[in-house]
Structures are given as structure tokens and as C-alpha cells.
Symmetry: C2
Subunit: 382 residues, 2 copies
């Protein structure tokens, strides 16, 4: 397996509504990431997006973005895994460069959710035959998990509310975050509007527009592009029973556990080596479950880490260091590429007031649907 590094990146500020179109947002980050790496040519383009079929009426994004970004001719494909699509595209870019067949791969994640009513389209991440007809959405299914968690483990009533509070605190210093100026307490979370009980408004990541891109190259040529490349130490994907109703223990996110174990085994890295963890906090409960599944807390215990400050920037295992999906925003197809950009910022020591202390290795996870797919990447300076 040829070693792969990230040698360029570009992210734009997440907004409720970006005035640019989908292809213009894609171009902005494509051109930005190429300029950041000092290149005007790439071998391949892998695109992530979830909703353009319905919201923009586009089903052929690879070639469209290649042309609109000025690189018509290159290989261009779209990669999907529902709400984990960004990490899926990063995974394929990794495989392409690792294979030796592709020497430079640009990954674009972009989503323009302001283009229409997104929620029912997002529900297509669930089972259209057995879940959606009963009225299930990603929100209602996460609500069921949150309720089950409370009943099973009986944490304090404000336990899960610490996750969004932390996310918003971290977003304050991220210029690319949607919610830089929105700070709240756990009490504010618990009195915010009910969306799908027990999930409240401040438990939910927002509908928004965003785009980010990274450029991958072989590690042995990474210094041709940048003085501070970041290596992809592991890349892995795992699935679970598709519907969580079919899982023996719905509170154990097996896709997160399996993909983390694969990533640790492949790279020889252990949990203790991880400096920080960008979790997929699309809903508060998912951040809690991901920490437990990845082995950083016992089942039913991850909320204690939040309360005790372990997850803060200065803590034992900082998470959502630039605001996470909750407060940076969750423009779906772009989210994992934002995570990637943020992980690189941390590893390079460029995270400003949110800088984790001497980070060496960053872990990222992205969740598709109600964790039917989970994708894990480990990045490091080396």
C-alpha cells in the first residue's frame, strides 16, 4: 500500500444559504485546494454530495464539477454513503493514490441544502420499504436511540446536553463555522424547542450550505506540494445491520467499532495515541454513542467525559474541536471534508485559540444514516 498524504485544502464558511450555486461552490474549493497545493493539474476528482439529485436536479456531478473547475478531461466520479459521503470520497481518493494508479486526487465535498426541502430527501438514507413508510426520518430514529439510551443507562437529565454546548463553544473561534456567535448552556438545550422527543432543537445539526476540498498525493512526493503534508495513517469503512431495529444492541454502534478497529489494526495505532477525535455529532446522542463504540468510554458512560471536561480543547480527548457538525454546520456531503480540513489545522498547529496541545494523531469518523455505514480515518504528521 503506497503511503498517501494530504497536500492541499480549502474550505468556505458554512452558511444557512450560500448565494452561489452548487457548481460554483464546488469550483471555489477545487480551485482553492489546487492553489493551496500549488498545482493547476490533477489526475482525478472524487466528489461527495448527498442531495443534488432532488435539490439541484443533477446526477452527474463528477464531470460537471471537473468542467466547471477548469479541469475537464480528468477522471471524475461521485462517491456515496448517504450522510457519510464525504468520508466515502476521501476513502476512494485514498485507495486511488495508494494503488499507484493515480498520483493526485482532489476530493470535493459540497452540499447546498437551501436548494429545497431537504429533510425528506435525507430520510432516504433509511430503509424506504420498512422505515420511511412508517414516518421515520433520521431525526426520529436518533430520537429513539436517545430515548433508549436514557432508559437503559439512566444518565442525569442534562448529560447529553453537554455535547452541543461544547460544540458551540469551539465554533466561536472557527471563522468557517455557521454558529460562531451562538453560545448556550445545558439548560438552554433542555428548554429549546422539541423536534422529535427527546431530541430538541439544540441537539440537531443545522440544515446549511457548505463546501470543502482536499488534495491527496503520494507521501513520498508530498513535499513537492507543501512544507506541511499530513499523512492518512488509516482509512476504513464498516457497515452494520441496515435498520437499527435489526441490531442486537442498538446502542452499540458496530460500524463505528468495526471501522475504528480496522483503522487501529491497519495502522498499528492504539486509542491512547489519539490526540483528538472529530466525531459525527449530527445529533447529540450520536457523539456520545460514537465515543463508546470507538472504545473511549464504557457503554453508558461517555457523557461523563463531557461533564468532567475530558472532551474540552485542553482535556484528555478533545472532540469537535472546531465546532463539529452541530456548530460548524453539517452540509452533508461536505461535512467529512470539513472534518479533514480541521484535523489538518490541528495537526499543523494552525487551530488558533482552539489549538489542541501538541497533537500528533487525529481520529475522524463519519456516520451514514443511523450508523448503517461508519467511516474512520486517522491522520498524522509524519
Amino acid at each position: 500500500v503506497r503511503q498517501v498524504s494530504i497536500v492541499g485544502l480549502h474550505q468556505i464558511t458554512v452558511r444557512k444559504e450560500n448565494n452561489s450555486g452548487l457548481r460554483e461552490m464546488a469550483r471555489e474549493v477545487a480551485v482553492g485546494a489546487m492553489a493551496n497545493a500549488g498545482v493547476d493539474h490533477i489526475d482525478a476528482l472524487y466528489v461527495s454530495n448527498m442531495l443534488s439529485d432532488e435539490l439541484q436536479g443533477q446526477k452527474h456531478l463528477g464531470a460537471l464539477f471537473a468542467d466547471h473547475s477548469g479541469v475537464a478531461g480528468v477522471e471524475a466520479l461521485q462517491i456515496r454513503a448517504a450522510t457519510a459521503s464525504g468520508a466515502a470520497a476521501l476513502r476512494v481518493g485514498y485507495l486511488a493514490v495508494a494503488s499507484g494508479d493515480v498520483d493526485s486526487a482532489l476530493i470535493i465535498g459540497v452540499e447546498k441544502m437551501s436548494g429545497g426541502v431537504a429533510t425528506p430527501m435525507i430520510a432516504k438514507a433509511l430503509d424506504g420499504r420498512k422505515e420511511v413508510p412508517d414516518g421515520a426520518t433520521l431525526i426520529s430514529q436518533n430520537a429513539r436511540l436517545m430515548k433508549l439510551y436514557s432508559r437503559t443507562y439512566k444518565p442525569p437529565s442534562d448529560a447529553i446536553a453537554h455535547f452541543p454546548v461544547l460544540a458551540h463553544k469551539n465554533a466561536a473561534h472557527n471563522p468557517f463555522a455557521l454558529f460562531r456567535d451562538v453560545q448556550f448552556s445545558t439548560e438552554d438545550v433542555l428548554t429549546s424547542r422539541i423536534i422529535s422527543p427527546p431530541i430538541r432543537l439544540f441537539d440537531c445539526s443545522p440544515i446549511c450550505d457548505g463546501a470543502a476540498a482536499v488534495l491527496l498525493a503520494p507521501s513520498d512526493r508530498a513535499n513537492d506540494y507543501t512544507g506541511s503534508p499530513v499523512r492518512i495513517l488509516a482509512s476504513s469503512v464498516a457497515t452494520d445491520r441496515f435498520r437499527f431495529a435489526d441490531r442486537p444492541d442498538p446502542l452499540m454502534i458496530r460500524g463505528a467499532r468495526l471501522s475504528a478497529e480496522k483503522a487501529f489494526n491497519k495502522s498499528g495505532i492504539s486509542r491512547d495515541d489519539i490526540s483528538f477525535f472529530e466525531v459525527h455529532d449530527a445529533f447529540s446522542i450520536m457523539a456520545c454513542l460514537a465515543l463508546e463504540a470507538a472504545g473511549f468510554a464504557q457503554p453508558g458512560e461517555a457523557w461523563r467525559m463531557a461533564i468532567e471536561g475530558d472532551l474540552n480543547i485542553g482535556g484528555r480527548l478533545p472532540i469537535t474541536t472546531m465546532g463539529g457538525l452541530k456548530a460548524r454546520g453539517h452540509p452533508i456531503g461536505a461535512s467529512a471534508i470539513y472534518q479533514t480540513c480541521e484535523t489538518i489545522q490541528q495537526l499543523r498547529g494552525e487551530a488558533g485559540p482552539n489549538q489542541v496541545n501538541n497533537p500528533e494523531i487525529g481520529l475522524m469518523q463519519s456516520v451514514g444514516g443511523v450508523a448503517s455505514t461508519v467511516i474512520t480515518h486517522i491522520l498524522g504528521i509524519s
Copy 2:
């Protein structure tokens, strides 16, 4: 680059309407290809489909099919390039195994077009901002190319009609073909119903349901699975200006030329080495243009090959040997995997009455949209 071989396959008969659901069709070919290779485990699953977002309300096919096929837990992603999605999934499977990170990759191509009105969804392969609002569809754009071809090169009026006649002739002996029993003459083509002038009904590949799967493994372990592995000698993707209106010469399919040249250069194979060519004859004109773009005929001349018998089973360069998209059928996301199965049948000498004489190397191309993306694979026994 680690060498990659195909070690298992399964295809089901293409039908106007398959009574099974999308996931059941996927499972049938997944289980079939695994059984064909003698395995009950795979490392990864790469899925191709174009229309499930709208027709089946599903946007998370990788994990859904993994679970429904009995391999929940494995890596599973969906890969897209509009109407070339099957070849895109094969490409990613190739990259995954070539990288050394994945040791067995199952590729499922499946489409259930009977699930709704497919044509407007297929048009989303075009530019939703600049083409579709003007009423463009894949049919109307291919019609413009066909008209331009006639005006530019002034071939005989029945020149292009030879392609569908040949496709149907070859389909007669393919048990998996939709149109086994429909034979017609060039005169029949030229008197069939006008769809979008000058394209007539018999110039169009059909709306249909189908699925096929292949299993990939490293070539140095291929004999663990089968006595007759087929090697992927080259895999390449190229794009063009997205809209053909932006291309300097719309009759030169640059994606086909570029991806073929990349494939030839990477593999050291030349055009003269090619025993047969599975072209993407979604419309008659595209078969003609593909032959010219890939360098097998001069611009404006490929129809001569059809008239002179060069493209017949016993000819110089047989094409659409099992019926092509036109007569085997074009269940979009599955089509390139059918091409792959058929190419393997030929290379193994298992093509029955359609057997090409001592074939050594087969070329396959798949076209996304109006050739905005073209994907080329070269397969051989070695």
C-alpha cells in the same frame, strides 16, 4: 500497482419488469457471484445504480445491499458517473484491490427502471441549469449528434441502422438478453416510430430491469477462487467538456479517446491487440462515434465497418457481442457489469454461438451522459 483479476460473476436475465425489488435483485447477483467464486465472505462491496433516489426512494444502497446480501459489516459504498456508473464501480473496485488495502471486492450493478418514469430522471445526467430547462434529454442530445453526423459526413441513409440490427442478431443467442426474439432489418429501423428525429425507436436501448455482479481479487491469489480468472489489464476514466455544445468538435468523443489512450498507455496494449469491443450503444450513433473516438475508424467512417461485416462475430473487430445495450438491454447501473460478464464469457470461450474466434483481449467502454464521462476497461486472460 497490484494486479487485479475477476474471479466470480453472476448475471440475471434483463426484463422489461422484474418482479423482484431492487434489493432482491442485488442480493441475487451478489450471492450468485460469491457462490461462483466459492466464497461466503468479501472485504468490500461497491454498488452501481443511477435512479434509486427517485424510483425507489433509496440513497444509501451500499449498506442496504450489504445487509440484504448477508454480509452486513463489510465496507460498502456507492459509486456514480450517471449512465457510466457500473464502470465507475468497477473502477473503484479495481483501485481498492490494486491498492493492497482490500483483498476481495464485490461489484454490484443493479437498476429497476420499471419503478417509475425513468426518462426525466435520466436527463439529470445533463446540465440541469443549461440543458434540461430547454427540454433536453439524453435522447434529444443524441439526436442532435446523429443529425450533425449525417450533415457532416453524409453517410448513406441506412448507415447507422446497421448497428442495432447487429446488436439484435447477437442477442438472439444470449439467454440474459431482453430482446432474444426480436430481429429486424435496417429498413425496419428506418421505418420504426420516430422518437426524437432522426432517432427512431429501434435506435434506442430499452428501459428495463437488470442486475449483474463480479468479484475482484488480487491476480496472484485468483486461482484460489477459480480456474479461469480474467485479468483487468487497464482501467481508466476521462471526462470532456460537460455540455457537448462547449466542445470544439462534438463528433469527436474526447472522453472515449482519452480514456482509451490512457488504458492503452498504461497496459502497453495497442488497438491491434483488441479481439472485440463492447461499446456503449445506448443509441446507435454512440456506437459509431465510440469506434471513431477509440481510433478503430477514421472520423465519419465507422459505419463502413458495420456495413462491411467487420463488426460481426467473425469480423475484424466484433462489437456488442452478446447484444449490447441495445438488445441485451440497458438497465443503467448494471450495464457495464453485464459488459464485464460478457467480456469474461468471450475470453473464457463460453460465449456459445456468439463466440469470437480465439479472443485474447477485450475492450469495454461505458458512457456517462452525452459522453461527459467515458470509462474504459481492458480485460484479458493472463
